[in-house]
């Protein structure tokens, strides 16, 4: 009964972002790599989708293809039912924003944070101040340049910058893997907070299955360019259908 209800709800909620049969191939130095092989996915409004994989699994490439920074060889990408295949980042940036692993590198080293935020979004000071508060930072940090911030503060700033554009979707590429555990916990918590406050959907890419399981509604597991497992977080964690997922689960060295 409840399952049916959930299904109906799922049907009513059109995916905000979807991709189907995405393929991407690189040729470099005589070798051919296939970071994406027939990858399909959907993200519902307000959902956090986790993509887990090890290095070389294609998870970062998938994110770059979704963002428009790279173009897929074939496949379809839609935003609210609208095809945006082949759009460059200048156009996709209207509805999605990316948070990068390298927080310091995400800001022009010569600009103060305020200038970076204003330059990026065209927001006025008041909006910027409101957003700074929302991501848990203080006004005085706006005068600083990126190298005078901590990694965690910088990553919060880049979340603020993304939210200032009123993007509907945040693409997070290993955003905490360069941070300390304590900072990581705070940034991850922030993601769930902004999801609620700003009503955004989030795709979180990480190598850390435990981390992803903490905040994601659904999880996709990638290996060698394929999606090998996907489903609701509880299902993937408790009843993994794929051998590789089990291997990942077993290799988590927990405390």
């Amino acid at each position: 009964m409840t399952e049916m209800k959930a299904d109906i709800m799922q049907m009513n909620r059109q995916p905000v972002l979807s991709g189907s049969n995405l393929n991407k191939t690189y040729h470099s130095g005589g070798r051919t790599v296939h970071p994406l092989q027939n990858v399909s996915f959907e993200v519902c409004p307000g959902e956090i989708l986790g993509i887990v994989g090890e290095s070389g699994s294609g998870k970062s490439t998938l994110l770059r293809v979704i963002s428009g920074l790279e173009c897929p060889d074939s496949g379809v990408l839609t935003y609210k039912g609208f095809h945006y295949h082949g759009y460059g980042p200048e156009k996709t940036g209207k509805f999605l924003q990316m948070i990068f692993q390298n927080a310091y590198g995400s800001f022009d080293p010569r600009m103060t944070m305020e200038r970076s935020l204003r330059e990026g979004s065209g927001a006025d000071r008041q909006e910027i101040l409101r957003m700074i508060c929302e991501v848990g930072l203080t006004e005085d940090l706006l005068e600083r340049k990126p190298r005078h911030l901590s990694g965690g503060q910088c990553q919060r700033m880049s979340i603020a910058r993304a939210l200032l554009t009123h993007a509907q979707i945040l693409l997070c590429d290993e955003i905490t893997s360069a941070l300390d555990v304590t900072t990581q916990a705070q940034v991850i918590k922030l993601l769930t907070e902004v999801r609620a406050a700003e009503d955004v959907s989030i795709i979180l890419v990480s190598h850390d299955l435990a981390l992803v399981s903490m905040i994601c509604d659904r999880i996709m597991v990638m290996q060698d360019g394929y999606i090998v497992d996907q489903g609701k977080t509880e299902d993937v964690i408790n009843a993994p259908s794929d051998y590789y997922t089990r291997k990942l689960l077993n290799s988590i060295i927990s405390v």
Binding site: S67, G68, L69, G88, P89, E90, T92, G93, K94, L96, Q97, M98, F100, Q101, N102, G105, S106, F107, D108, P109, R110, S116, E119, G120, S121, S158, R161, T165
Partner: protein, 272 residues
Amino acid sequence: MDKKKKQLKRKVMIAAACAGVLVVLALLSGVIAPNDPYATNAALIRKGPSAAYLFGTDNLGRCVLSRVLVGARTTIAATFILVAISFVIGILVGMLCGFYGGIVDEVMMRIADLMLAFPQMVVAIAVAGILGGGLGGAMIALGITMWTSFARLARSHTLSIKNEPYIQAARLLGKSGPRILLIHIMPNILEPVLINALTQIGTTMIGISGLSFLGLGVVAPQAEWGSMINEARAYIQIAPWAVLFPAAATVITIIVFNYLGDAVMEYRKADQ
């Protein structure tokens, strides 16, 4: 660590002060030159250094000190203008090639390769020969190969910055290519290219003086170190001062500017 940086900073300051003095001397040469650099005097041919003529006189009885000072203006001004123009052209070409890539990049870089395939001086002599004498011709001759070093440097820095997350973020934030070039890329590549410009000053000075020495630079009466050395070398045994002083001026100026370039480069390295 800090101590070393302080030392390097002092080095930069000393070099900059020396270079500053040279530039000021060149700028004020019209005022401080004790005699008219172009006035010939048949009674004072090839006179050794004296109180009235500190550096002696040349074959036509002209004051060597005054000519060295006025020549400084010619040499230093020509060098600065040439480096500045090459810098602007080079940085523009390099940035555009690096950022947009594609066929334009391919063509421009092959042209640059072509320029670098020959020794700079050989190209310069050939071009200056075709263009005929004159300072303008000499500057074009040297500039034709010089912009390539700036373009290559600007291009390689642009390429490395282009893939930084902040450039990608800027693209996602809807910034156009020219705006990204102007706001993000140019300020971030300016420093290394400027330092390169500083180190190029010495070489360019040698180039200009060298061409003048060969008679491909400034035209006869105008004072320029290279041409002064050339004129005076015929009677070097009788009046060595007429060669010695412009030569010393050239050497000192080149050393000062090279030293400044090196000092700034070292300082930047330590800073990072």
